[in-house]
């Protein structure tokens, strides 16, 4: 047999892909059970209204309808949906609205029928009377006196307020030579995963056991919350996350439909399926972002930032979903970015509005921070007439300063921001580009060069950083089972849905045990198979789940070495795993086939006295701190001043996510992330009208970037490992989204510099750009 390569670091193609691209994956909608019923929901057409009556009689009489329920029918039978993050005012959140509806899409009634067509037909037979109330759509206006109250019992639309002004802040601000004040809008976004949500619930009465398939990122956390809501033991609920077609944070949640289907499957003693329509997905799956921020920055004439103050108005939507009020805290913590900002003060107002709840969306609080600080850097540069690159260099945390505690109090693990910046500048040919830009301006062409030097927070833990009410903390788990034929099963507590851990974790296990990746099967997303795990979100899976895997592998290795040392009569510490053998490190030709050791462990040929049979181990990794990946993105764009259109000329991304297990996976994550990030900069915006009607209710109106709208991305890496985990990995799932948005915005603003335009709020649609140019021309004339 040929010698095996080392797998870590190799660009191995995703082992998940063949089944997915040939249609052989199993998604929730592929689950079909005998006697399965189908659910549909009636949703509020109003943003804010009193429910006078819901008449279900005609729906109930419709042939094929098994049951129809309104919120009143469920009163006292299903508790409030969970929000585990702390907030001063946490509203009651019934699975079906009671008394009032509070956003367009709020579930009013559920129908269960023998097939999905009948269920949908029956929705049209429900007669519901609503008394419309004035809607509150704008978060800032929601705090004004006299604004309609969304939850009257609180007497305010404020869900929570957080403030921090450290001692010495005013002094730091007063040391500035100049200050700037500006307002930034980080618009509300719709996460738009390819597969909308879906649930199948199956109650096996004889076993008193509920199995729930859900398109979720967090099967175990969902199980814990369902156990509470449905009053079942956690050992009597099995949650399965089969193939999940994208989540982007919007499936890091516990939704009404999951609770409703579990409850009704038990009540009706029949399996039930619900598959979200795209329209429901846009209206009733969590949104992201939605911040208005007032920034005040103080800086010296040389560009050094002395102080930043940020006042946030954060749009929570009508209810608090699982982590809704926790997301803005990551924004506050990451405001300093990769800079030695002298002092930071902030005030955050978390505000109810008559809209769908916001929650995590790719980046979850960090893109908002990165946009704030990276736009600030460019604003300062414009004010001082400095090159934006120079302002960044002036403020960078130097690479020998790590671990570094920022003005927000976070400890950054490692970094080399100049290194990534220099590499990106060299790749793009920055100085030459600036010359070309100047020449182009002479010809009436508007080229823009945008830079963002981002840093973000990943691998969150330690557990103390996560909300106490979240069962389970910031750790992650893994089990390694060497089966009797030496094939290996890895059970991971993370729940990949596009991140590729079936490939990267196999690479880690293969190298540790000296076997082929094809001999490893990575299982996940089934609480009856996998030990408790936390799931996949916040770019945590490899830094935490990968480390748990390394630890579990270590335990298995120890046992195998013990057995091998007995069989080979050499000390275990002199043994290594290589080429399907356990060998003497000093002389690998002295070896024993792995299979012999496995057979000894299972005791069927050479039982080892004093060694417990079997060959598996579990490990749980609690990190001591967070990791901070970073990088530099540079976009080159051209703006058509006649139509406001933005065209990409170049996009260079230099990212540092620590050590790289699989460069293909890293590139894929970054490309997808950059596409979503530039989507926010140029195209995407969740629009509600002044009455709270959702205008972007379909993909005909909500503009996600298509392939032809995304430039070819020139990619490179620098590698600055973390010492917080043995793999040296940091996380890369959200980096592209975080770094790209301000980069593109800065590029467009740079293009518009000759017009004297300093800022336009995202999305930078052609009309906004065209109008700004018209106004600038008018102002010049006037």
């Amino acid at each position: 047999m040929a010698a095996l390569p080392k797998f870590i670091g190799q660009p191995i193609r995703r082992r998940e892909d063949p089944r997915l691209i040939t249609g052989e994956g199993t998604y929730v909608d592929d689950v079909k059970l005998a006697g399965m019923l189908h659910a549909a929901l009636m949703r509020s057409p109003y943003a804010h209204a009193k429910i006078s009556s819901v008449d279900l009689s005609a729906a109930r009489k419709h042939p094929g309808v098994i049951c129809a329920l309104s919120g009143e029918d469920l009163a006292g039978r299903l508790p409030s949906l969970p929000c585990v993050a702390p907030a001063q005012n946490v509203p009651e959140h019934p699975a079906l609205a009671r008394g009032k509806v509070r956003y367009v899409g709020d579930a009013v009634a559920i129908v269960v029928a023998t097939d999905p067509y009948t269920a949908r037909d029956a929705i049209d037979l429900i007669t519901a009377d609503f008394d419309p109330l004035p809607a509150v759509v704008d978060a800032e206006k929601a705090l004004q006196p006299g604004a309609p109250l969304i939850h009257e019992n609180f007497g305010t639309n404020l869900a929570a307020k957080a403030e921090m002004t450290p001692p010495g802040f005013d002094k730091a601000m007063s040391e500035a030579d100049k200050t700037l004040k500006f307002r930034l809008v980080n618009q509300r976004l719709t996460p738009t995963m390819m597969e909308p949500r879906g649930v199948v619930a199956h109650w096996e009465h004889g076993y008193k056991q509920l199995t729930l398939w859900s398109s979720t990122q967090i099967p175990h956390l969902l199980r814990s919350q369902l156990a509470d809501m449905l009053k079942l033991g956690e050992n009597k609920i099995r949650v399965i996350a089969p193939e999940v077609g994208g989540g982007f944070g919007a499936k890091l949640n516990v939704y009404a439909e999951e609770a409703l289907l579990g409850y009704l499957a038990m009540e009706l003693d029949r399996p039930i399926k619900w598959i979200e329509t795209r329209r429901e997905n846009m209206a009733a799956t969590t949104h992201g972002r939605g911040h208005v921020t007032y920034v005040e920055v103080g800086f010296k004439n040389d560009g050094a930032i002395t102080a930043i103050k940020a006042k946030f108005f954060c749009d929570m939507g009508a209810y608090l979903q699982l982590l809704t009020p926790a997301i803005p805290s990551f924004t506050a913590l990451m405001v300093p970015g990769c800079y030695r900002v002298g002092a930071l003060a902030f005030e955050q107002n978390l505000i109810f509005t008559n809209k769908m709840a916001t929650d995590a969306y790719r980046g979850a609080g960090r893109p908002e921070a990165c946009y704030l600080i990276e736009r600030t850097m460019d604003m300062v540069a414009a004010e001082l007439g400095m090159d934006p690159v120079q302002v960044r260099r002036k403020n960078f945390i130097p690479k020998d300063a790590f671990p570094f505690t920022t003005a927000a109090g976070l400890q950054y693990d490692s970094g080399d921001y100049e290194g990534a910046l220099n590499k990106a500048l060299a790749m793009v040919g920055y100085d030459k580009l600036r010359t070309e830009q100047a020449a182009a301006r002479q010809q009436g062409r508007y080229l823009g060069i945008g830079v963002s030097t981002y840093v973000e927070i990943c691998g969150i833990g330690p557990s103390a950083l996560l909300p106490p009410k979240l069962k389970g903390g910031g750790w992650e788990s893994a089990t390694v089972r060497v089966e009797p034929d030496s094939k290996v099963t890895v059970l991971t507590g993370v729940s990949p849905h596009g991140q590729g851990q079936e490939t990267s974790f196999a690479q880690i296990a293969a190298d540790a045990l000296g076997i082929d990746i094809d001999d490893i099967n990575v299982l996940h997303g089934d609480t009856a198979i996998v030990q408790y795990g936390i799931g996949t979100f916040g770019s945590r899976a490899t830094a935490l789940g990968g480390t748990a895997l390394v630890m579990a592998l270590g335990k298995v290795q120890e046992k195998m070495k013990t057995i091998a040392s007995r069989l080979m009569e050499v000390p275990p510490q002199q043994l290594i795993f290589t080429n399907r053998t356990i060998a003497l490190a000093s002389d690998p030709s002295k070896s024993i086939p792995l299979q012999k050791v496995v057979e000894a462990a299972y005791g069927y040929k050479q039982p080892i006295p004093g060694v417990e049979p079997g060959l598996d181990a579990s490990a749980f990794f609690e990190p001591s701190g967070c990791t901070f990946p970073f990088g530099t993105h540079i976009a080159v764009v051209e703006v058509d001043p006649q139509t406001g259109a933005v065209k990409f000329l170049r996009y260079v991304a230099v990212d540092d996510c620590g050590k790289i297990i699989n460069p293909l996976l890293v590139d894929g994550q970054l490309q997808g992330g950059i596409a979503q990030g530039l989507g926010q900069a140029l195209y995407e915006e969740t629009v509600y009208d002044e009455n709270g009607q959702l205008v972007t209710a379909s993909l005909m109106d909500y503009a996600i970037p298509k392939a032809q709208m995304v430039p070819a991305i020139e990619m490179a890496n620098t590698v600055t490992p973390t010492n917080l985990n043995p793999l040296g990995v940091k996380g890369v799932g959200e980096a592209g989204t975080i770094g790209s948005t301000p980069c593109v915005a800065n590029a467009v603003m740079d293009a518009l510099k000759p017009f004297g335009i300093r800022h336009i709020d995202m999305p930078l649609k052609p009309e906004k750009i065209w109008r700004a140019i018209q106004e600038a021309k008018q102002a010049k004339k006037g």
Binding site: P116, Y117, R120, D121, D124, T277, R278, R279, Q642, T643, A645, Y683, E685, V687, V695, T696, L699, M700, D701, Y702, A703, I704, K706, M709, K765, P766, E767, W770, R771
Partner: protein
Amino acid sequence: MFPATFEYHRAHSVKDALALLKRFGQDAKLLSGGHSLLPMMKLRLAQPAHLIDIGAVGELAQIAEEGGKVVIGAGVTHQQIADSALVRGKLQALAEAAAQIGDVQVRNRGTLGGSLAHADPAADYPAAVLALEGEVKLEGAQGTRTVKAQDFFVDLLTTAMNPDEILRQVSFSPIAVGTGCAYLKRPQPASGFALVGVAALVSLGRDGSCEKVRVGVTGLGSKAFRAAGVESALAGKKPEANAIAAAAAHAADGIDCLSDIHASADFRAELARVYTRRAIEKALERCAR
């Protein structure tokens, strides 16, 4: 997304389809590529009781040259039109419009006839069919008739077709020597439909002046239209930059422009003027004699 109940009928010929149309009257809708109708049915905005599928009617799926005209069957797909050497050579603006509709999947299913009959105010074809002065042949129980493109588009989602008629084909005179045409479009970023789409056709006379100018505009108002103000302003003039710009300034004259989250009425009008100028310039580049 689940449509309301309907009955499905497959027509094997135009005759078949006409008989089914007669039988079910207003309760029936013709189904071709399904790319406009099915989404509306899934949202239950359309709930026809009967669908008559003409997707497999071979006699509607031909592109041919007949009596000096290019004749395109209603069932020809966007992709076939975009790929057709005949259309690309003799009706370039139409091929350009077809190539910019939706994405590959849409272009492989959607048809010329389906798009024209649906008359979406932001569809691409109408601009090109107007500028190229296509003639739409309709067939009904009362026989066949031909409607000029200019008379075909009546209002939002409304055409000159009667409910018992089928759109059979569209015929065009191939562009002559000394004539150029082009279709330019600013897509709406979500749907890919035209925020503004402009097709221009220009013929240069022997003296180098614009002998004939035709401009079709889509996306701007409730229906696609011929920009008569632009055409008359440029006709007889030398194709100089100032003259073109002055003519293009009339692109939105008299039009009640649409306004939505993607573009206000003002901006749509401005885009129409810019794209009209650019489409004329491009058509002129192609006016080789």
